[in-house]
Symmetry: C2
Amino acid sequence: MHRSRVYALLIDTPGPEAAAAASFWAAALGASAVPVPAEEQFTSLHGAIPGLVTAVQSIDDPNPRFHIDIETDDVEAETARLLALGATQVSRWLECRVLRAPGGHLLCVLPVHSTPAVFNAGARTWS
Amino acid sequence: MHRSRVYALLIDTPGPEAAAAASFWAAALGASAVPVPAEEQFTSLHGAIPGLVTAVQSIDDPNPRFHIDIETDDVEAETARLLALGATQVSRWLECRVLRAPGGHLLCVLPVHSTPAVFNAGARTWS
């Protein structure tokens, strides 16, 4: 038995346009754009969407995309669950697994990043 | 003075894969997949992300993407605000304006779809 919840929405943006995208989305959504220390590809958009971490990620790809991060207390079990539902594994990145959903969208499975209170309040339990 | 808030996250999926994508995302996020009456390109994912309407949209495009819907009490003013921030207008669809953000992502501006209570609680005011 393990748990997971949707943690974040990442606005993946081609590198040369990432700064402009971060400025736009911050202003558009009334958020503050805050660089993430030691992870310079990310600019967090604090307060953009209630309950959902939102950030612009600079990517080495000419095609803009979004992806969803799912946080879990068991990365192995959550990845296995999503693979059984039809996702395919694309890569690993640090402790994260990058998967592609049926239909072609990317999602990442990562260890719990929220506070215990936030995770416990929103997580679903899978058996 | 007008108001807006992020209303929805749309998982835009190439038509032939849209049904499989809706099934996957519903199971992955613990949501129920519900076809939207009279708008058969949409399958709503009830309960997928708290506070954010989530749906799969079948699209006539081979490239999967996401887009964000912003609801507002003044579509003209909100569109003008986002254009001034650097977005470009792509098209109109019914009462909605489809814009492209700096960085290449799509967003739609549409009239308020939430209940007054939800809109009033979450909307930001722009002057």
